[in-house]
Amino acid sequence: MKKIELNNVSVSYIVGDFSNIGLKDVIIQKIKGTYTQKEFLALNDINFAIEEGELLGIIGTNGAGKSTLCKVISGIMRPTKGTMAVRGNIASLLELGTGFDGDLTVKENTFLRGAMLGYTREFMNQTYESIIEFAELKEFEDRKFSHLSSGMKSRLAFSIACLVKPEILILDEVLSVGDGAFRRKSEQKMLEIIGSGATTLLVSHSLEQIRRMATKVLWLDKGKQVDFGATEEICDKYEAFLKKK
């Protein structure tokens, strides 16, 4: 069964200066008739479908629309045009550090973040110890979150996130975090989740990683779909494209 299906999906952002100029000026500009809104196509006519258990690698240079695509599939944004079907519960890890609050302690943050990812309280009570152990932060649990180093923060973030058991997993540049040792540990853990049959979307700038893991690849450039299909073929093309640049 097709787990994710996108047909002619476009997303346009409204860009204009009115978030900068404020209400007073908008009113004045409306009266004068100089008020304009511009649209910017972040995604332009995207078409693809992937089956259960597949891993789709999404590649493209900065600003290609990769993150916007992830947002659309996670349901945070809606396509302006086109239709989309996503079947199954989604866990999207777009930015691991989201939702943490510097004023709260590490323990409080763990529960808060867990709640945001949709875990239940019972589940968090049961797994809290193993989370903190995996993150190697046991002696810091009552410290303020803002006192942690950035590596520690991402270790904690990853340890909470990797407990998900979704049918669809969306990973935006979050596959490996922390220092050398933790990096290996985290990638191992993610591979486990992916291996358990989740349909995965993986955004990565590491072509080596994509070649190794992806079953299909989607190449985006400036919001347009350049190519979609077999991994090796598209990765080769993309590499050639990068060299030419």
């Binding site: 409204i14 609050d101 945001m116």
Partner: protein, 259 residues
């Protein structure tokens, strides 16, 4: 639609509780003084106002301090709750743009802290009333009605303001001016009985004045307000919440463009 929201809150109960905890801890910074301060600050205001205004307005009126307090209390709650509500979306923009969560949860959790604060101030209000020689009677139970209406009204206003704030960043300053004007129009420290009957009726166009009046009628005058006041209380609450909910429903996905 309302049932839907309740269902979703149930589903997100854990998140809601954690958000409430977060907002509460952030508000009071875990200090006893932090909590005290939010109670002391309205009392200080009350003190200053009663010193300044008792000579002007309170000479021949009974229970002027309570009259002031009733007004101040309501206004302070409105301002605290709506200002917090206004910021609720933008403060959590980082979360909203990365995780798919119902957006009103952030506003509701903010409001819980405001309501708790309000209830504590209310207790102090009744202690004051007691020492001021006001007789307590069963009619006081009716105060639950305007309190609930006011809470709903505040949530509705919070919805509207937070949506506006996402799009127009200068709302913050405009709203400060607006609340200041509203304060003067809410008859917090003066009496309206010197105005003509028509002008007095105009005051009821101000929702805050309506809620304040309900309080004063019951506590100071010891009478139950007319059914018209009851209807108005409910009407303002339902209107604010209705408009706010509509905006959220309509612009739910559009907020994202401006965050």
């Amino acid at each position: 639609m309302f049932q839907n929201i309740v269902k979703k809150i149930k589903k997100n109960q854990f998140l809601f509780e954690e958000l409430v905890k977060r907002d509460f801890k952030k508000k009071y910074k875990r200090t006893v003084l932090g909590m005290m301060w939010s109670l002391i600050s309205p009392l200080m205001q009350l003190l200053v106002m009663s010193i300044v205004f008792t000579n002007f307005f309170g000479r021949d009126k009974p229970h002027y301090t309570i009259y002031l307090f009733a007004g101040n209390l309501t206004y302070a709650f409105f301002k605290d709750s709506t200002t917090g509500g206004m910021n609720s979306l933008m403060q959590n923009a980082g979360i909203i743009t990365k995780i798919n969560l119902p957006k009103y949860m952030f506003l509701l959790s903010k409001n819980v802290a405001s309501v708790i604060n309000y209830v504590l101030t209310l207790l102090i209000f009744f202690i004051f009333a007691f020492f001021d020689g006001i007789e307590f009677h069963f009619n006081f139970l009716l105060l639950v009605y305007p309190v609930i209406c006011l809470i709903i009204f505040n949530i509705g206003c919070g919805f509207i303001l937070s949506a506006l704030f996402v799009i127009f960043k200068d709302i913050q300053y405009l709203y400060d001016i607006f609340t200041l004007m509203l304060m003067y129009l809410s008859a917090i420290f003066y009496y309206t009985d010197t105005y003509s009957p028509q002008a007095q009726r105009l005051f009821y166009l101000n929702p805050l004045y309506t809620y304040i009046t309900y309080f004063r009628r019951i506590v100071i005058d010891g009478i139950i307000p007319s059914w018209k006041v009851h209807v108005l209380c409910l009407l303002y609450a339902v209107l604010a919440l209705g408009i706010g909910a509509l905006i959220y429903k309509k612009y739910n996905y559009k907020f994202m463009y401006y965050m």
